[in-house]
Amino acid sequence: MSTDLDIAVIPERATIGAASGEDRQTHLLARLRPTAREGRHVPVDLCFILDCSGTMRRFQLTPDEIARWADLARGRGELQMVTADRRAGAIFIGRTAQELQATATKPVVVAARAIKQVVGSLSESDTASLVAFGDRASVVYDGAAHFDKGQMFEVINELLTDSDAFHLGDGTIMAQAVELAAKQVNKAASGGSVSRAIIMTDGIVHDPAETLRRLETLRAQGGGITTIGIGQDFDEEFLMRIADRSGGQYYYAADASELGNHLTEEISRLQVTACQEVAFAIKGERDSVVVDLYQVQPVIKGFEEIVTEQGWTRVKLGELPGNEVTSLLVEMGLPELPDGSQHVATLEVGWRPPGSQQHKTERREVTIPYMKSLTLAEPSPEVAGLIDRVAVYKAEREAQWAQEDGDVDRATRRLREATRLLKKIGEERLAAEFERQAEDLEKRAPEDKSRTKRLKAATRRLGA
């Protein structure tokens, strides 16, 4: 056993039927639990990528509130039509604007407050930079070389009071911001620290292909990318993809107030990083086949990138926090083998302890007893539960793809399949939400964007 990481493998069934007609599809659960190191905080190098587009700088109001304020402004002649972030809208001016400012909040203000809050909790060995973007991007605070919280707070205040002075524009052009963040992460990186870029946005990125291309540079430097989507109008599929590809996390903040919690959670996870550059590999032995694998804990996700090599299937997991279990569910096809204990797979986990340049590797042989007994072993409740949860995740994904293809019937069927599975595992509330989603789709009702995003985020967290 390693001193950094406990590795456990739990087969779906304790035994496999040796008879030729038996089902050979099975699962393995690989559980990675870093050994706790109380009180040890790993230095973090953060780069916040903050969307400062027009919509982030608008007040966040409910439809009722908008109507009330609009009536008031109209009555006073203080309503003005404008275009921001390629969307038409109205702004309040004069006394109405002043009164609104005193009572309502803008997403960018809440995001900036959240950044200040987490920056305030950073230690001297940490660093943080801030890249803001709209139509253009700018490193508004460069803490990579020399980090000073006070200076960073001043810059954030300046950004809030007079964002126009930074000439960022109203759009959501992210690629340049990512490129600047990559430079910041590269500049700040030291052997013992954990790097992370954190994207906070509320809009649909206008340059997704170029952004993904430049994210590769950031990723190549070993920096994970965490994404936080705010509100209803961002492209959650794009943000999930970025996070999943880089080994970062994706969070959904229904309103700006949830942002602070997510940001705090993310920084806390990073600060207790127990293993870095974690890589998981599995190889089928004796003609066994690795069909697919999913991360199931702490979140459920399919690996965006998988490397295959001479029978090995390899994935990258990034950093593992010390306070969390990370589990992978491996779908396998097993061959016909004679009675007795059979070596069906070998798995390998590699990682680097923080502050160390030395890579460690652990191998495990997975053996499963093949038995002629007609009574098949009961599945492990833990693995079976996670299989169902992954099935919900797959059904949700397939519903999404069906919707993208315009196939409403298939999308509805897949949502109902998710509902059934959720009821089976006792997730009644989420099941009810899925059912409402299916009903709305069936009725061709307007999409409840907030619910869609909530369902996707909740589905990913089913394994927690």
Binding site: G302, E309, E398
Partner: protein, 512 residues
């Protein structure tokens, strides 16, 4: 270490991934996925696009042999196929990272299924053309001992030239093959397959492809797939209501359709060759125009080569029709007929000569488009024609082709020569005088815009010229190549002026 990426529920090679074992391909994107294999668009090192088929490793290891058999079967089929314009060529096979790969030419274009989904009804001319070509491609396969077994619109790609190309040999067999598994597609499967499957003994036969071709023809004609209701189970033929729906179609085409889709496999055509032959006898004519567009390129208003478009009949009967052009600058002719804006033709292979008159086009330097309409029994085909008239180069005209100068020793003599640019481009003109010392031209250079005239002065200096007769040549060289010249004769006299006049008069009388 090949990187794979998740494409929805598929894990496949990532874009940009090289195939180092063969060292020749780079993955562009995933273009298709089936039960047994995925297909990528890949780029070979010489830039050619290829379709790379990767056979899956089965999820159940007990199916390893089946999957390997499928790969070997398809490889054997591809090896049998040579080169045909309507079937993509087989390039090579290799193993990489424990998987089998087959490489074929990549055919750009959309599938027939996509075309049918987009277009409510296909024009009958195109239906006939595609039916004939699909049959030709199937005949080619059958002649090479290959039965496709999964002909359907999804497996037919309309290539850039508009030709239907048959893809996916994943279900193909050789005649007489017996197998227990059959991988075809519902809606295009011959009815006898069900019985054979029930017996667990399926015999590969060309008739199976014929039924699928009939279904495709049906779908092209009616815009929907045939259903069980369309066929009378007693007679095994298409039913009355459907025939009424087909009543406005060409009867020969409908007759071929009925026979191809017959449930009675003995009544059905026994192979694509029979079906093609019947189409070429009973069916309508199908005109193919080669080339299908006329490009005159850049012409300057002077001579150019006429273009020939051949109208060839690929179907039945004889082509009868007319060719019409509406534009003043175009004329057409067929053998035995004068060149006109409209000519009639008859025959199975008719050369249509297309002539352009660039001098009837005012625009210069822009591509001018016109349509040539070729109408025959089945409808009208439009051939786009294009020409770009470029301005004529500078062309010089001189006021004299020859010049005579006479002077006495120690005197000077001058003559003026006018030069005009009758071309359509301005040009710098060099004036060069070749002759004895003492004769010159000024200026040495001119610039003449289109239709502009200039003048040069030829001067002879009697002090520097010897007494007697001299010959000289004045040449004008326009930038761009055109030249003009004036021959000069010069007599220098030393005697009395009267004597000179007498000699001059004698010369004039000789010239006249």
């Amino acid at each position: 270490m090949p990187m794979r990426r998740r494409y929805r529920d598929e894990i496949a090679l990532a874009p940009g991934e090289p195939i180092p074992e063969s060292g020749r391909y780079r993955i562009e994107r995933l273009i298709g996925a089936g039960t047994f294999a995925v297909v990528y668009l890949a780029v070979r090192e010489d830039g050619a696009k290829v379709a790379l088929k990767e056979f899956r490793i089965p999820a159940d290891p007990r199916q390893n042999e089946d999957f390997q058999h499928l790969y070997e079967q398809e490889r054997a089929v591809l090896r049998r196929m040579g080169s045909h314009p309507l079937v993509p060529g087989f390039l090579e096979e290799f193993q990489f990272d424990g998987r089998n790969y087959l490489v074929q030419e990549y055919v750009e274009g959309e599938s027939l299924a996509e075309v049918l989904a987009r277009e409510e009804r296909l024009p009958e001319t195109r239906i006939v053309e595609w039916a004939l070509k699909l049959c030709e491609a199937a005949v080619y396969l059958h002649d090479h001992g290959v039965i496709h077994h999964d002909l359907k619109p999804e497996n037919i790609r309309i290539a850039a030239q508009g030709n239907p190309v048959i893809l996916d040999m994943g279900s193909a067999h050789v005649p007489g093959d017996r197998q227990s598994d059959f991988y075809g597609s519902n809606g295009y499967m011959a009815p006898e397959i069900r019985d054979m499957l029930a017996r667990g003994d399926l015999e590969a036969h060309r008739r199976i492809d014929v039924f699928a071709l009939g279904c495709i023809l049906y779908e092209m004609l009616l815009g929907r797939r045939p259903t069980q209701d369309d066929i009378d189970m007693q007679s095994g033929r298409l039913v009355g209501p459907l025939l009424r729906e087909l009543s406005d179609m060409h009867p020969g085409l409908v007759s071929v359709l009925i026979k191809a889709m017959s449930f009675d496999r003995n009544y059905r055509y026994q192979g694509a060759a029979e079906m093609l032959e019947d189409l070429r006898v009973k069916g309508p004519p199908s005109m193919e125009l080669i080339p299908d567009a006329v490009r005159f390129g850049q012409v300057s208003g002077r001579g150019h080569e006429p273009r020939i478009v051949t109208a060839r009949n690929r179907g039945a009967q004889t082509l009868e029709g007319k060719v019409r052009v509406r534009h003043e600058w175009l004329r057409v002719t067929v053998p035995g007929q004068p060149e006109e804006r409209e000519v009639r033709f008859t025959g199975s292979e008719v050369p249509i000569t297309v002539i352009a008159y660039p001098d009837r086009i005012k625009e210069r330097g822009v591509e001018i488009h016109a349509d040539m309409e070729v109408t025959y029994q089945m409808g009208k085909v439009v051939v786009p024609c294009a020409i770009t008239v470029v301005p004529q180069r500078a062309t010089l005209q001189v006021s004299h082709s020859s010049l005579y100068l006479s002077l006495r020793v120690a005197r000077r003599q001058e003559a003026r020569v006018a030069v005009r640019n009758v071309g359509e481009r301005g040009a710098d003109v060099k004036c060069v005088l070749a002759g004895p010392e003492g004769i010159g031209v000024a200026p040495a250079e001119l610039h003449l815009e289109p239709l502009e005239s200039g003048e040069v002065v030829v001067s002879a200096d009697g002090q520097r010229l010897k007494k007697g007769s001299h010959a000289a040549r004045l040449e004008f060289h326009a930038q761009g190549g055109h030249e003009a010249q004036v021959n000069i004769t010069l007599d220098v006299f030393g005697g009395a002026y009267d004597s000179l006049r007498a000699r001059l008069a004698a010369r004039r009388s000789r010239t006249s």
